[in-house]
Protein backbone atom coordinates (compact mmCIF):
# COMPACT_ATOMS: atom_id res chain seq x y z
CA UNK A 1 0.00 0.00 0.00
CA UNK A 2 1.27 3.46 -0.79
CA UNK A 3 2.32 5.81 1.96
CA UNK A 4 -0.19 8.47 3.03
CA UNK A 5 1.35 11.83 3.81
CA UNK A 6 -0.96 14.46 5.27
CA UNK A 7 0.28 18.03 5.50
CA UNK A 8 -1.62 20.55 7.59
CA UNK A 9 -0.76 24.00 6.26
CA UNK A 10 -0.37 25.12 2.66
CA UNK A 11 2.28 27.79 3.18
CA UNK A 12 5.83 27.65 2.00
CA UNK A 13 6.96 24.98 4.50
CA UNK A 14 4.03 22.65 3.78
CA UNK A 15 4.05 23.13 0.01
CA UNK A 16 7.80 22.69 -0.28
CA UNK A 17 7.53 19.49 1.76
CA UNK A 18 4.77 18.22 -0.54
CA UNK A 19 6.81 18.99 -3.64
CA UNK A 20 9.85 17.24 -2.20
CA UNK A 21 7.84 14.22 -1.05
CA UNK A 22 6.39 13.82 -4.53
CA UNK A 23 9.93 13.70 -5.95
CA UNK A 24 11.05 11.19 -3.32
CA UNK A 25 7.97 8.99 -3.32
CA UNK A 26 6.14 9.18 -6.68
CA UNK A 27 3.45 6.64 -5.79
CA UNK A 28 2.51 8.05 -2.40
CA UNK A 29 -0.72 9.81 -1.48
CA UNK A 30 -0.11 13.41 -0.51
CA UNK A 31 -2.75 15.71 0.96
CA UNK A 32 -2.39 19.40 1.75
CA UNK A 33 -5.01 20.86 4.06
CA UNK A 34 -4.85 24.63 3.73
CA UNK A 35 -6.81 27.34 5.46
CA UNK A 36 -6.07 29.62 2.51
CA UNK A 37 -8.47 29.67 -0.42
CA UNK A 38 -5.68 30.46 -2.87
CA UNK A 39 -2.86 28.38 -4.30
CA UNK A 40 0.42 29.13 -2.56
CA UNK A 41 1.57 32.70 -2.92
CA UNK A 42 4.46 34.68 -1.49
CA UNK A 43 3.60 36.87 1.47
CA UNK A 44 6.93 38.54 0.93
CA UNK A 45 5.64 39.79 -2.42
CA UNK A 46 2.54 41.46 -0.99
CA UNK A 47 4.23 44.86 -0.47
CA UNK A 48 5.53 44.71 -4.07
CA UNK A 49 1.98 44.02 -5.23
CA UNK A 50 0.50 46.85 -3.16
CA UNK A 51 3.07 49.28 -4.57
CA UNK A 52 2.15 48.18 -8.09
CA UNK A 53 5.62 46.77 -8.82
CA UNK A 54 4.07 43.47 -9.90
CA UNK A 55 0.57 42.48 -11.01
CA UNK A 56 -1.60 40.47 -8.60
CA UNK A 57 -1.12 37.19 -10.46
CA UNK A 58 2.64 37.41 -9.94
CA UNK A 59 2.32 36.82 -6.17
CA UNK A 60 1.37 33.20 -6.81
CA UNK A 61 4.20 30.70 -6.63
CA UNK A 62 2.16 27.85 -8.09
CA UNK A 63 -0.78 27.77 -10.43
CA UNK A 64 -4.00 26.11 -9.34
CA UNK A 65 -3.45 23.14 -11.67
CA UNK A 66 0.00 22.47 -10.18
CA UNK A 67 -1.58 20.46 -7.35
CA UNK A 68 -3.39 18.06 -9.66
CA UNK A 69 -0.36 17.83 -11.96
CA UNK A 70 1.66 16.74 -8.96
CA UNK A 71 -1.12 14.38 -7.89
CA UNK A 72 -1.48 16.24 -4.63
CA UNK A 73 -4.89 16.28 -3.00
CA UNK A 74 -5.19 19.98 -2.21
CA UNK A 75 -7.96 21.06 0.16
CA UNK A 76 -8.19 24.85 0.20
CA UNK A 77 -10.28 26.70 2.74
CA UNK A 78 -10.16 23.82 5.21
CA UNK A 79 -8.84 23.68 8.77
CA UNK A 80 -7.73 20.78 10.91
CA UNK A 81 -9.90 20.67 14.03
CA UNK A 82 -8.81 17.51 15.83
CA UNK A 83 -5.80 15.23 15.74
CA UNK A 84 -5.88 11.67 17.00
CA UNK A 85 -2.30 10.43 17.05
CA UNK A 86 -3.23 7.05 18.52
CA UNK A 87 -5.51 6.04 15.68
CA UNK A 88 -3.63 8.28 13.24
CA UNK A 89 -6.35 10.42 11.74
CA UNK A 90 -7.19 14.09 11.56
CA UNK A 91 -10.66 15.64 11.58
CA UNK A 92 -11.20 18.60 9.29
CA UNK A 93 -13.49 21.60 9.44
CA UNK A 94 -15.49 20.21 6.51
CA UNK A 95 -16.38 17.19 8.64
CA UNK A 96 -14.06 14.77 6.88
CA UNK A 97 -11.69 12.49 8.71
CA UNK A 98 -8.49 11.50 6.97
CA UNK A 99 -6.04 8.86 8.00
CA UNK A 100 -2.32 9.35 7.74
CA UNK A 101 0.87 7.34 7.93
CA UNK A 102 3.01 10.47 8.31
CA UNK A 103 1.70 13.84 9.39
CA UNK A 104 3.31 17.24 8.98
CA UNK A 105 2.12 20.23 11.00
CA UNK A 106 3.09 23.41 9.20
CA UNK A 107 0.27 25.72 10.16
CA UNK A 108 2.31 28.90 10.62
CA UNK A 109 0.73 31.64 12.68
CA UNK A 110 -2.05 34.19 12.67
CA UNK A 111 -1.54 37.89 13.26
CA UNK A 112 -2.50 39.06 16.72
CA UNK A 113 -5.57 41.23 16.31
CA UNK A 114 -6.66 44.43 17.91
CA UNK A 115 -10.23 45.10 19.02
CA UNK A 116 -12.80 44.64 16.33
CA UNK A 117 -11.78 44.32 12.76
CA UNK A 118 -13.27 47.55 11.46
CA UNK A 119 -12.85 48.49 7.83
CA UNK A 120 -9.86 50.79 8.16
CA UNK A 121 -7.77 48.34 10.20
CA UNK A 122 -5.27 46.39 8.16
CA UNK A 123 -3.11 43.34 8.75
CA UNK A 124 -0.53 42.32 6.21
CA UNK A 125 -0.57 38.58 6.52
CA UNK A 126 -2.62 37.35 3.59
CA UNK A 127 -3.45 38.22 0.02
CA UNK A 128 -6.92 39.30 1.06
CA UNK A 129 -5.29 41.62 3.64
CA UNK A 130 -3.29 43.14 0.80
CA UNK A 131 -6.43 43.51 -1.37
CA UNK A 132 -8.19 45.15 1.56
CA UNK A 133 -5.26 47.52 2.14
CA UNK A 134 -5.28 48.55 -1.52
CA UNK A 135 -9.00 49.31 -1.28
CA UNK A 136 -8.34 51.47 1.77
CA UNK A 137 -5.61 53.32 -0.11
CA UNK A 138 -7.77 53.86 -3.16
CA UNK A 139 -10.69 55.23 -1.15
CA UNK A 140 -8.63 57.34 1.24
CA UNK A 141 -9.37 60.97 1.95
CA UNK A 142 -6.89 63.76 1.23
CA UNK A 143 -6.05 64.22 4.89
CA UNK A 144 -5.43 60.51 5.44
CA UNK A 145 -2.91 59.51 8.11
CA UNK A 146 -1.05 56.27 8.43
CA UNK A 147 -1.13 54.78 11.92
CA UNK A 148 1.22 51.88 12.50
CA UNK A 149 0.89 49.74 15.62
CA UNK A 150 3.86 47.60 16.53
CA UNK A 151 7.64 47.60 16.30
CA UNK A 152 8.61 44.62 14.19
CA UNK A 153 8.98 43.58 10.57
CA UNK A 154 5.30 44.08 9.65
CA UNK A 155 5.43 47.60 11.09
CA UNK A 156 8.42 48.27 8.79
CA UNK A 157 6.38 47.18 5.79
CA UNK A 158 3.58 49.56 6.71
CA UNK A 159 6.04 52.43 7.19
CA UNK A 160 7.44 51.81 3.70
CA UNK A 161 4.00 51.47 2.17
CA UNK A 162 2.65 54.66 3.71
CA UNK A 163 5.81 56.48 2.62
CA UNK A 164 5.41 55.13 -0.91
CA UNK A 165 1.92 56.66 -1.07
CA UNK A 166 3.11 59.89 0.63
CA UNK A 167 0.86 59.36 3.66
CA UNK A 168 2.14 60.97 6.90
CA UNK A 169 2.86 58.23 9.41
CA UNK A 170 2.90 57.76 13.13
CA UNK A 171 4.15 54.58 14.76
CA UNK A 172 2.85 53.45 18.15
CA UNK A 173 5.17 51.19 20.11
CA UNK A 174 4.37 49.09 23.16
CA UNK A 175 7.71 50.04 24.65
CA UNK A 176 10.33 52.62 23.76
CA UNK A 177 11.89 50.91 20.77
CA UNK A 178 11.56 48.64 17.75
CA UNK A 179 12.40 44.96 18.40
CA UNK A 180 12.57 45.56 22.13
CA UNK A 181 13.35 41.91 22.94
CA UNK A 182 16.24 41.91 20.51
CA UNK A 183 17.99 45.25 20.22
CA UNK A 184 20.37 46.72 22.75
CA UNK A 185 20.08 50.37 23.71
CA UNK A 186 22.29 51.96 21.05
CA UNK A 187 21.05 50.03 17.99
CA UNK A 188 17.48 50.59 19.20
CA UNK A 189 18.16 54.31 19.54
CA UNK A 190 19.72 54.26 16.07
CA UNK A 191 16.48 52.92 14.55
CA UNK A 192 14.36 55.49 16.38
CA UNK A 193 16.61 58.36 15.35
CA UNK A 194 16.69 57.18 11.76
CA UNK A 195 12.90 57.02 11.59
CA UNK A 196 12.61 60.42 13.23
CA UNK A 197 14.97 61.94 10.66
CA UNK A 198 12.82 60.45 7.94
CA UNK A 199 9.65 62.11 9.12
CA UNK A 200 8.12 59.31 11.16
CA UNK A 201 6.45 60.27 14.42
CA UNK A 202 6.97 57.78 17.23
CA UNK A 203 4.55 57.34 20.10
CA UNK A 204 6.00 55.19 22.89
CA UNK A 205 4.68 53.01 25.70
CA UNK A 206 1.25 52.53 24.24
CA UNK A 207 -1.00 49.81 25.56
CA UNK A 208 -3.05 48.65 22.60
CA UNK A 209 -5.79 47.56 24.96
CA UNK A 210 -6.43 51.07 26.29
CA UNK A 211 -9.83 52.55 25.68
CA UNK A 212 -8.38 55.63 23.99
CA UNK A 213 -6.97 53.35 21.31
CA UNK A 214 -10.44 51.98 20.77
CA UNK A 215 -11.65 55.54 20.26
CA UNK A 216 -8.78 56.32 17.89
CA UNK A 217 -9.59 53.35 15.74
CA UNK A 218 -12.95 54.95 14.94
CA UNK A 219 -11.15 57.74 13.09
CA UNK A 220 -12.19 57.04 9.54
CA UNK A 221 -9.62 59.35 7.98
CA UNK A 222 -6.77 57.13 9.19
CA UNK A 223 -5.57 53.79 7.95
CA UNK A 224 -4.31 51.53 10.73
CA UNK A 225 -1.54 49.07 9.92
CA UNK A 226 -1.29 46.49 12.67
CA UNK A 227 1.82 44.39 13.20
CA UNK A 228 1.81 43.38 16.86
CA UNK A 229 2.94 39.81 16.55
CA UNK A 230 1.83 36.35 15.65
CA UNK A 231 -0.14 33.81 17.62
CA UNK A 232 -0.95 30.21 16.96
CA UNK A 233 -4.07 28.21 17.64
CA UNK A 234 -3.05 24.90 19.16
CA UNK A 235 -6.53 23.94 20.38
CA UNK A 236 -6.90 21.22 17.74
CA UNK A 237 -3.82 19.49 19.20
CA UNK A 238 -5.05 19.51 22.78
CA UNK A 239 -5.64 15.77 23.01
CA UNK A 240 -2.97 14.74 20.54
CA UNK A 241 -0.14 14.42 23.04
CA UNK A 242 2.09 16.56 20.79
CA UNK A 243 4.41 18.59 23.00
CA UNK A 244 3.86 22.30 22.71
CA UNK A 245 5.88 25.08 24.24
CA UNK A 246 5.97 28.43 22.44
CA UNK A 247 5.67 26.36 19.27
CA UNK A 248 5.48 22.69 18.43
CA UNK A 249 8.55 21.10 19.93
CA UNK A 250 10.73 19.12 17.60
CA UNK A 251 14.20 17.63 17.54
CA UNK A 252 16.87 18.38 14.95
CA UNK A 253 15.12 16.03 12.51
CA UNK A 254 11.91 18.07 12.88
CA UNK A 255 10.22 15.10 14.53
CA UNK A 256 7.81 15.85 17.38
CA UNK A 257 7.60 13.69 20.50
CA UNK A 258 4.85 11.64 18.81
CA UNK A 259 5.97 9.05 16.26
CA UNK A 260 5.17 9.93 12.62
CA UNK A 261 4.19 13.50 13.47
CA UNK A 262 6.56 16.16 12.15
CA UNK A 263 6.59 19.93 12.11
CA UNK A 264 8.14 22.71 10.02
CA UNK A 265 7.98 26.43 9.40
CA UNK A 266 6.94 29.27 11.69
CA UNK A 267 5.08 26.96 14.07
CA UNK A 268 8.06 24.68 14.75
CA UNK A 269 10.12 25.12 17.88
CA UNK A 270 12.96 22.93 16.74
CA UNK A 271 16.32 22.04 18.19
CA UNK A 272 18.87 24.14 16.36
CA UNK A 273 22.11 22.17 16.36
CA UNK A 274 24.20 25.21 15.46
CA UNK A 275 23.16 27.46 18.33
CA UNK A 276 22.40 24.60 20.71
CA UNK A 277 18.85 25.33 21.83
CA UNK A 278 15.20 24.99 20.82
CA UNK A 279 13.87 28.04 19.01
CA UNK A 280 11.29 29.26 16.54
CA UNK A 281 12.52 30.87 13.35
CA UNK A 282 9.79 32.78 11.58
CA UNK A 283 11.37 33.51 8.24
CA UNK A 284 11.03 32.42 4.63
CA UNK A 285 14.47 30.88 4.27
CA UNK A 286 14.02 28.70 7.32
CA UNK A 287 10.48 27.62 6.40
CA UNK A 288 11.46 26.60 2.88
CA UNK A 289 14.59 24.76 3.99
CA UNK A 290 12.67 22.98 6.74
CA UNK A 291 10.07 21.92 4.17
CA UNK A 292 12.81 20.21 2.19
CA UNK A 293 14.47 18.56 5.18
CA UNK A 294 11.26 17.41 6.84
CA UNK A 295 10.19 15.71 3.60
CA UNK A 296 13.43 13.74 3.60
CA UNK A 297 12.84 12.69 7.19
CA UNK A 298 9.19 11.77 6.59
CA UNK A 299 10.35 9.64 3.68
CA UNK A 300 12.81 7.85 5.93
CA UNK A 301 16.14 9.52 5.27
CA UNK A 302 17.60 10.84 8.49
CA UNK A 303 18.68 14.42 7.78
CA UNK A 304 19.56 16.98 10.44
CA UNK A 305 18.12 20.43 9.86
CA UNK A 306 21.09 22.74 9.93
CA UNK A 307 20.87 26.31 8.71
CA UNK A 308 21.93 29.78 9.75
CA UNK A 309 18.86 31.57 8.50
CA UNK A 310 18.42 35.27 8.11
CA UNK A 311 15.80 37.86 7.40
CA UNK A 312 16.37 41.22 5.78
CA UNK A 313 14.30 44.34 5.41
CA UNK A 314 14.81 47.95 4.61
CA UNK A 315 12.97 50.72 6.44
CA UNK A 316 13.02 53.92 4.41
CA UNK A 317 16.58 53.14 3.35
CA UNK A 318 17.85 51.70 6.64
CA UNK A 319 19.11 48.19 5.94
CA UNK A 320 18.16 45.70 8.65
CA UNK A 321 19.38 42.10 8.70
CA UNK A 322 18.72 39.51 11.39
CA UNK A 323 20.97 36.45 11.36
CA UNK A 324 20.60 33.33 13.48
CA UNK A 325 19.48 33.40 17.11
CA UNK A 326 18.69 36.99 18.05
CA UNK A 327 16.97 36.56 21.38
CA UNK A 328 18.52 38.92 23.93
CA UNK A 329 17.02 36.88 26.75
CA UNK A 330 18.73 33.69 25.60
CA UNK A 331 22.07 35.35 25.02
CA UNK A 332 24.51 35.71 27.88
CA UNK A 333 26.53 38.33 26.08
CA UNK A 334 25.77 41.16 23.70
CA UNK A 335 28.46 43.14 21.87
CA UNK A 336 28.25 46.13 19.62
CA UNK A 337 30.36 47.00 16.58
CA UNK A 338 30.05 50.46 15.02
CA UNK A 339 27.97 53.30 16.39
CA UNK A 340 25.24 55.80 15.65
CA UNK A 341 27.93 58.33 14.68
CA UNK A 342 29.46 55.86 12.21
CA UNK A 343 26.06 55.34 10.62
CA UNK A 344 26.02 51.58 11.08
CA UNK A 345 25.79 49.14 13.98
CA UNK A 346 26.15 45.40 14.26
CA UNK A 347 24.89 43.76 17.43
CA UNK A 348 26.30 40.34 18.21
CA UNK A 349 24.65 37.73 20.43
CA UNK A 350 26.87 35.29 22.28
CA UNK A 351 26.11 32.29 24.42
CA UNK A 352 28.71 30.32 26.35
CA UNK A 353 31.36 32.13 24.35
CA UNK A 354 29.90 31.14 20.99
CA UNK A 355 28.55 33.64 18.48
CA UNK A 356 24.90 32.62 17.86
CA UNK A 357 23.26 35.60 16.21
CA UNK A 358 23.55 39.14 14.94
CA UNK A 359 21.53 42.16 13.92
CA UNK A 360 23.06 44.37 11.23
CA UNK A 361 21.89 47.94 10.81
CA UNK A 362 23.33 49.53 7.68
CA UNK A 363 26.22 47.07 7.77
CA UNK A 364 25.33 44.66 4.96
CA UNK A 365 28.89 43.67 4.27
CA UNK A 366 29.15 41.98 7.68
CA UNK A 367 26.50 39.49 6.63
CA UNK A 368 28.53 36.74 5.00
CA UNK A 369 31.37 36.87 7.53
CA UNK A 370 28.96 36.61 10.43
CA UNK A 371 26.83 33.90 8.80
CA UNK A 372 29.95 31.79 8.21
CA UNK A 373 31.20 32.52 11.71
CA UNK A 374 27.94 31.33 13.29
CA UNK A 375 27.78 28.29 11.02
CA UNK A 376 31.30 27.29 12.05
CA UNK A 377 30.34 27.74 15.73
CA UNK A 378 32.97 30.44 16.05
CA UNK A 379 33.89 31.65 19.51
CA UNK A 380 33.81 35.30 20.42
CA UNK A 381 37.30 36.60 21.21
CA UNK A 382 38.20 37.67 24.75
CA UNK A 383 36.66 40.95 25.74
CA UNK A 384 40.00 42.69 25.95
CA UNK A 385 40.95 41.63 22.44
CA UNK A 386 39.87 43.29 19.28
CA UNK A 387 36.33 42.24 18.48
CA UNK A 388 36.13 39.98 15.45
CA UNK A 389 39.07 41.48 13.53
CA UNK A 390 37.46 40.58 10.20
CA UNK A 391 34.46 42.75 10.99
CA UNK A 392 36.54 45.64 12.25
CA UNK A 393 38.61 45.33 9.10
CA UNK A 394 35.44 45.41 7.04
CA UNK A 395 34.24 48.57 8.73
CA UNK A 396 37.59 50.26 8.13
CA UNK A 397 37.30 49.58 4.43
CA UNK A 398 33.99 51.39 4.30
CA UNK A 399 35.28 54.55 5.91
Amino acid sequence: MSMRYVIIGGGIAGTTAAEELRKLDPSSEITIVSEEQHPIYSRVLLPHYIKGKIPRERVFLKKENWYSEQNIDWMPGVLAVYLDTKNKFVTLSNGREIEYDKMLIATGGEPRTIFENSRNISYLRSLSDADNFLELLNSRENNCNGEVFGGGFIACEYINLFAHFSIPTRVSLRGDFFWSKILDREPAEFVNQYLGKNGITLRKNVSFKDSFIEEELKNKSSIFGIGIGIETDFSWLKESGVEISSGIRANEFLETNIPDVYTAGDVAEFYDVIVGRHLKMGNWMSAMSQGRVVAQNMFGNKIVFELVSSYATNILGLEVIFIGDVSKESADEVRIIGSIEEGGITQLFGRKGQLVGAVLLNRNSDRQIITDFIKNKGLLPDKNRELLPELVEGSKKRE
Partner: protein, 88 residues
Protein backbone atom coordinates in the same frame (compact mmCIF):
# COMPACT_ATOMS: atom_id res chain seq x y z
CA UNK B 1 23.93 23.92 -22.10
CA UNK B 2 23.93 27.67 -21.62
CA UNK B 3 21.50 29.59 -19.45
CA UNK B 4 21.03 33.30 -18.97
CA UNK B 5 20.45 34.10 -15.31
CA UNK B 6 19.10 37.49 -14.37
CA UNK B 7 18.27 39.06 -11.01
CA UNK B 8 15.84 41.97 -10.88
CA UNK B 9 17.44 44.16 -8.17
CA UNK B 10 14.21 46.08 -7.80
CA UNK B 11 12.38 42.91 -6.70
CA UNK B 12 15.26 41.40 -4.70
CA UNK B 13 14.96 42.01 -0.96
CA UNK B 14 18.12 40.23 0.10
CA UNK B 15 16.36 37.24 1.65
CA UNK B 16 19.42 35.21 0.61
CA UNK B 17 17.53 31.97 -0.03
CA UNK B 18 19.26 31.70 -3.42
CA UNK B 19 22.66 32.07 -1.74
CA UNK B 20 21.79 29.23 0.61
CA UNK B 21 20.69 26.92 -2.20
CA UNK B 22 23.28 27.82 -4.84
CA UNK B 23 26.18 29.83 -3.41
CA UNK B 24 28.31 29.21 -6.49
CA UNK B 25 25.76 31.10 -8.60
CA UNK B 26 24.42 33.73 -6.22
CA UNK B 27 26.01 36.04 -3.68
CA UNK B 28 24.82 39.26 -2.08
CA UNK B 29 26.47 42.56 -2.86
CA UNK B 30 26.88 45.48 -0.45
CA UNK B 31 23.41 46.73 -1.36
CA UNK B 32 22.05 43.42 -0.08
CA UNK B 33 20.98 42.36 -3.57
CA UNK B 34 21.80 39.05 -5.21
CA UNK B 35 24.39 39.11 -7.99
CA UNK B 36 25.04 36.30 -10.46
CA UNK B 37 28.29 34.32 -10.40
CA UNK B 38 29.72 31.88 -12.90
CA UNK B 39 30.85 28.86 -10.89
CA UNK B 40 31.92 31.07 -7.99
CA UNK B 41 33.80 33.37 -10.34
CA UNK B 42 32.96 36.87 -11.41
CA UNK B 43 34.57 37.40 -14.81
CA UNK B 44 34.09 41.02 -15.88
CA UNK B 45 33.04 42.05 -12.36
CA UNK B 46 29.81 42.12 -10.39
CA UNK B 47 26.63 41.81 -12.37
CA UNK B 48 22.93 41.08 -12.01
CA UNK B 49 22.90 39.11 -15.25
CA UNK B 50 25.13 36.64 -17.05
CA UNK B 51 25.32 33.60 -19.32
CA UNK B 52 26.49 30.42 -17.62
CA UNK B 53 27.43 27.06 -19.06
CA UNK B 54 25.81 24.39 -16.84
CA UNK B 55 25.34 20.65 -16.65
CA UNK B 56 22.02 19.03 -15.66
CA UNK B 57 22.76 18.97 -11.93
CA UNK B 58 23.86 22.59 -11.92
CA UNK B 59 20.77 23.56 -13.90
CA UNK B 60 18.51 21.83 -11.39
CA UNK B 61 20.23 23.57 -8.52
CA UNK B 62 19.88 27.01 -10.14
CA UNK B 63 16.18 26.32 -10.70
CA UNK B 64 15.83 25.35 -7.03
CA UNK B 65 17.52 28.61 -6.06
CA UNK B 66 15.20 30.61 -8.30
CA UNK B 67 12.17 28.78 -6.89
CA UNK B 68 13.33 29.48 -3.37
CA UNK B 69 13.28 33.25 -3.91
CA UNK B 70 10.33 34.75 -2.01
CA UNK B 71 10.02 37.61 -4.48
CA UNK B 72 10.65 35.60 -7.67
CA UNK B 73 13.41 38.03 -8.52
CA UNK B 74 15.48 35.44 -10.41
CA UNK B 75 14.77 34.88 -14.10
CA UNK B 76 16.19 32.02 -16.18
CA UNK B 77 16.32 32.01 -19.97
CA UNK B 78 17.50 29.41 -22.47
CA UNK B 79 19.75 30.00 -25.47
CA UNK B 80 16.79 30.94 -27.68
CA UNK B 81 15.83 33.63 -25.19
CA UNK B 82 12.80 31.72 -23.92
CA UNK B 83 11.98 32.43 -20.27
CA UNK B 84 12.17 29.13 -18.41
CA UNK B 85 11.50 30.51 -14.94
CA UNK B 86 9.22 31.89 -13.64
CA UNK B 87 6.94 30.08 -16.05
CA UNK B 88 4.84 32.46 -18.06
Amino acid sequence: MKLRIKVDPDLCIGAASCVTVSPETFQLNDENKAVVLDHSQEPNGRTYERWIEVNDDEKENIFLAAQSCPTLAIFIFDEEGKQLFPEL
